[in-house]
Each structure stands twice: as C-alpha cells, then as structure tokens.
C-alpha cells in the first residue's frame, strides 16, 4: 500500500477534557481527563477498521475527533490530505458531506418532532441539492439500506418505527450524501439480538458496494470481527494493539488484548471457564498509572512498565504497544504504517 491511498491520518492526537477550575489548577491537581492521549494511525481508502475497547478507553472520543465533532487538544488529523483540525466555513461544510457518523442509539439520533422524510432531507438541504432531486435520492438510499417500500416510512415519526428500522434510517441519513468515510459508533448495541444481524449485514453490504472507508467503534470483539478486517484496541486513551482482526482474535499479543479475547462469552455450552489473565479492578481515566497505563492490571508487568511508556513494536502485520515486544531493531520500522 502506498501513501496516496491513505484517507485519514491521525498523528499524535490528544483530547483532554478540562475538569476543576482556576483554584484546582493553582493547587496543582490534575486539570484534565485524558480521553485520548497521543494516538497515531492511518486509515486507508476502502478499509474497515474496528476501534475496540472498554467503556472509557477513548474509542468514542477518537471517533469524534475523526469527524471533527471535537478538536484535538494536540496533534493533527488529516482527511484526504487536508488538516481538518483547522478547517472552517466552506471547507468544513465540504468535509461534513464526506464524513458521516452512524449513531449508537437510533431512538435518539432522530428528532422526534420530524418525519423520516424531513430527517433525510436535512443533509440534502444543507448540501444544496435541488428540491427536485431530493425525493429520488431519498428513495435510492432507502433501497440501499433495505427499506425498499420507502413510501410507508417517509411520513412517519421516529417513535412509530422499530429499533431495527430506525437504525437503518440513521444509516440512510449518513449515506444519503454518498460520503467517503463513515464512523459507526456501536450501531447495534441498543438493538435486540434478533435484529442486530440485519443492521450489520446492511452495513457490510453498503460498505462494500460504496467502497466506504469505515471505522466501527465497539466493545464487542465478535461484532468487530464480523465487519472489520483490521482492529485497533484501545486502553485508557492509548492504542495497545493494531492489526488484522483475524490475527488479533487468533493470537492476541498484548496482555490486555489477551484478556479481552478470553473474556468474550460465546453462545455455546462448551467453553473455557479459566480465570482471566488479568487483575481485578477497573481503569480510572482520571488517574491513569504512570508508564504503561495497563500495568496495574497486567499479570506480566515489570519494573520498566512503571517508568516508561511503551512505544509501538511491530510484530508481523501488527503494532503492539508493550515492553514485552520491545526489541530495538523493530522500533524504527514501527514508526511507519503497517504494510
């Protein structure tokens, strides 16, 4: 793969939310939650990447950065060669037509006061699509998300539709301007099990058909595996492992990924009940440990982990941020993008 194929590049992005005020700053207390704390990765055109992690790991914040819903405290994000951290006005409007979000909760993503048609028209209005063209585009996108008899939905209100239908509408709205890039934030977590598959299938299909670059944010490795070829695992605002999903599932490298893979329950009676290779306790985003932020739960932590933040090490097609894989010769290569 070559540089030209990169659509999104994230370089050292940080997102810190301020907490406390002047007084706490004067008292030298931590003044910010580090939701995203220095992450770098590249998304290639047509690639589908899962952002995986526990709640509070910064995966949603990363998604917001990618869509310029928040601006990074530090670092850069380029979209198609353009630094989106500084764009405004017309450039921002253009970006908005090319990068879209599929929301977690379809019941909240649509304004209950507006009909489905009004909801779908909003992006078209903003993109100044002529009125005459709009209806055709609405019908086209409804077909795309497998709601072919559009007429029966368009004049309804959100509360009159089921969760599965709503999530497809939400998808339709994200796709109606034919974007290049889509971030899906746990799009099925609010849905019942029996309808999840439908939405996931539509997502897979549309992505393939439109050649979309997609980021799929989830805490569920099984779902990520179903829709993404590559997965980035995050822990406390940092990336711990980044590589092809299948490799990651089959042979997780980072101790955290290992625990994560082991913990995923499966719907079969016969499965391992072995204790997880991880300590108890929960990550505290307000007070992450020094050095490697996972070290307080890591069964393999050693002295170095407390003082030094592990950089990326390349192992096969993967980048692992762990001192266990930290070999001098791999480090320079690790700075590049995974080939």
């Amino acid at each position: 793969m070559t540089e030209t194929e990169a659509l999104v590049r994230v370089e050292g992005a940080r997102l810190h939310y301020p907490i406390g005020g002047i007084v706490s700053a004067m008292r030298g207390l931590p003044s910010a939650v580090k939701a995203v704390d220095g992450i770098s990765f590249t998304l290639h055109r047509g690639e589908s990447v899962g952002l995986l992690g526990e709640s509070g790991c910064g995966k949603t914040s990363t998604g917001r950065l990618l869509l310029k819903l928040d601006d990074p405290t530090d670092g850069h994000i380029t979209f198609d060669g353009e630094d989106i951290t500084t764009i405004r006005g017309e450039a921002l409007r253009r970006f908005r037509t090319r990068a879209q979000l599929i929301f977690q909760n379809p019941f909240e993503a649509l304004n209950p006061r507006f009909t489905i048609r009004a909801a779908l028209s909003e992006p078209l209005e903003n993109a100044r699509i002529p009125r005459a063209e709009r209806e055709a585009r609405i019908h086209r996108v409804m077909d795309l998300v497998r709601l072919p008899d559009a007429a029966q939905f368009l004049d309804r209100y959100p509360h009159q539709l089921s969760g599965g239908q709503l999530q497809r509408i939400v998808m339709a709205r994200a796709l109606i301007l034919e974007p290049d890039f889509v971030v899906a934030d746990e799009p099925v977590s609010m849905l019942d099990v029996s309808v999840r598959a439908g939405v996931l299938n539509v997502f897979r299909e549309v992505r393939a058909r439109m050649g979309l670059t997609a980021v799929y944010i989830s805490h569920d490795l099984a779902l990520v595996r179903y829709v993404c070829e590559r997965t980035i695992v995050m822990y406390l605002g940092r990336i711990v492992e980044d590589g092809p999903t299948e490799d990651l599932v089959r042979e997780p490298l980072h101790p955290y990924t290992k625990a994560l893979v082991a913990a995923v329950p499966v719907p079969h009676p016969d499965q391992s009940h072995d204790p997880l290779p991880i300590g108890r306790g929960a990550p505290d985003p307000r007070n992450p440990p020094s050095g490697c932020s996972f070290r307080d739960r890591c069964p393999m932590a050693h002295a170095r982990c407390a003082v030094e933040e592990p950089g990326p090490s390349r192992v096969g097609q993967r980048l692992v941020h762990c001192h266990l894989y930290d070999q001098a010769d791999t480090r320079p290569a690790a700075r590049g993008t995974p080939a």
Partner: protein, 325 residues
C-alpha cells in the same frame, strides 16, 4: 480535595458577584435623575452652606473618585452617613438586621416544617381526592399578595378578635435585658405570630410542592423499590430512604428561600409595623436617603448572595455524592 477546590472557586465567584452588585448599586444611585440632596437642603441655606453639605457627603467629587472612596469605605465596613439621620448607616442597619432575620427565619422554619410534612403526606396520598384539592389550593396561597393577606389577618385576628397585637415587636414601654431576653419572651412571640403566619402561609408552598414532587421522584427510584424488595417496613422505606433523599434539595432551597424572603419582608414589615431592614429601605428610598437606601439594599443583597452560597455549600455537605470524591 475536589470539594475544597470547588468551594474555593465558589467563594471566588461570590466575591465577584458581591463586587458587581456593589458597583451596580453605586452607579444606580449616582446616575438616577434628581438632586440627591434635594430633600435635605433647607431653603434657608446660603449657597455656601449647600456646597458645604454636598462636600460633606463627597458629592462634589468626580464620579470615579466617589466610586473608589465608596469602595474603600466599604472595605472598612463604612457605608457612609445617612442623609436623614445624619448618623452612620452601618449602625442603623445593624440595629435593624436582627429583627428582619428573626422574622425571616421563624417564618421559614414554620413554613418548611409544615411544607415538608404536608408535602410528604400529599406524595404519600398521590392521586387521592385530598391531593387533587390540595395542589391547586397550595398554588393559590402563592398567588396571594402578602400585604393583602396580612391586612386581612390583621383585621380578623387583631382588630376584630383582639387575639394579637396590631404591630411592633413588644408591648409599649416594655424593657428587656438585651436581644436574647426580648426574643425569648412571650410578649415577643405574641407580636411575632401574625407576621410569621402571613409570611409562612405564603412561603409554605415552595417546600410543600418541592417535597411532594421530590418524594414522587424518589419513590420511583430503584433504591426505593429495592428497599421494598428487601422487605423493609414501609416506614423505613418512606422515611429512611425516600424522605431522606427527597429532603436534600428542599434543605438547600431553605437557604435560597431566606434570600427571597428577606426581600419580600419589605411589605409585611410595613403592614405589621415591624422595625426591620425592609421597611427602612422603603422609607430611605422614599425619603431620598441615598446612603441608607444603598446600605440597606446592599445588606439585603449580601444576605441573598450569602444564602445562595450557603445553599450550594449545604448541598455539598448533605449529598455525599458531591463531598466524598
């Protein structure tokens, strides 16, 4: 740790508000139309005497200079000299403040005691006929002009029935060993009854409705349901869990209510000839006694601002979710 910093920034905010109110007050009283001393310059005065009088109150200096003198004096607790009494404003205000505070607090204590009990009762009796009638009635009590209610209570209980005196804090010529002896005397209580009743009838609505809706809210909380599932007695469920939680916002609203009440006292103090700060403010304003009006206004504002602060601190104190982090 976090609590301390929160309190710190809240204090800074309070100081800012105090400064802003002081400045607004200063400008308001200086920029209003009319000669501030019109009412106090005797026509027999020579022009020199008039100028001397203006100079004595510092009114001959440029505005900004007056402002800094005012601020400087204020920091030393000097609110200036009353045009009307020709005595220090601070002295006067401190003499009247206790009367106003005692009226405010006693009426609110009565109002809150009643409001909390009645509010809990109505929440308990949700949907009953009593509740359906009580809610509009309570709303109506908040719609009564206080002086109107006061006058009617006065007409009934004082003029007609003769049960209570028609005004003041004590019988004519009665003497007490200091404030405490006065405030604990039966005489004082008798004089306090009607004004407190008037204010309490007006103020009970807030705690009552607040308590009721909080109770209704809390009763729907999972932990109340859990308490029932735990098989705890209804009394334990309602008092220990529901009421304890519902009381939180009601308690903090008490402090805010003090701030509101103290402004509303103005009217009731006039009706019941209560020697308080509100009445003095009205009198000072109508008599163009600017330093005193300003001082009384400021004192009331300080109570309001302090009570807003206390409300926040109280909340922090009572709700472990805020303090223990």
């Amino acid at each position: 740790m976090k609590a301390i910093t929160a309190i710190g920034s809240r204090l800074l905010q309070t100081l800012f508000v105090l400064w802003a109110v002081v400045t607004i007050l200063f400008l308001m009283f200086r920029l209003m139309p009319g000669n501030p001393m019109a009412a106090y310059i005797d026509p027999n005065f020579t022009p020199e005497q008039q100028d001397a009088l203006m100079a004595r109150f510092g009114l001959d200096r440029p505005l900004w200079e007056q402002y800094f003198i005012y601020l400087g004096n204020l920091l030393q607790g000097d609110l200036g000299e009353s045009f009307f009494y020709r005595t220090p404003v601070t002295e006067r205000i401190l003499a009247l403040l206790p009367n106003t505070l005692i009226l405010t607090f006693s009426s609110l204590i009565v109002a809150y005691a009643f409001g909390i009990l009645a509010g809990s009762y109505l929440a308990w009796k949700r949907g009953s006929r009593v509740e359906q009638v009580a809610v509009p009635v309570v709303l109506t009590t908040r719609a009564m002009p206080e002086f109107w209610l006061g006058m009617i209570l006065l007409a009934v209980f004082s003029f007609t029935l003769g049960w209570f005196p028609a005004g003041g804090t004590r019988p004519p010529g009665a003497e007490y060993d200091g404030y405490w002896a006065l405030y604990t005397s039966r005489d004082f209580l008798v004089h306090l009854t009607l004004p407190v009743l008037t204010l309490a009838i007006y103020s009970q609505g807030l705690p009552l409705l607040l308590m009721r809706s909080n109770m209704l809210d809390v009763m729907k909380e999972d932990f109340v349901t859990m308490a029932r599932i735990k098989g705890l007695s209804p009394f334990t469920v309602v008092i220990r869990h529901a009421a304890r939680n519902a009381l939180l916002p009601v308690t903090t609203s008490f402090a805010i209510a003090v701030g509101y009440q103290i402004q509303g006292n103005v009217v009731v103090e006039t009706v019941f000839s209560w020697p308080g700060l509100g009445r003095e403010l009205v009198r000072a304003v109508s008599a163009s006694d600017y330093p005193l009006a300003q001082g009384a206004f400021l004192m009331i504002a300080v109570v309001v601002i302090l009570m807003n602060l206390i409300a926040d601190l109280l909340y922090a104190l009572l709700d472990p979710r805020v303090t223990r982090e």
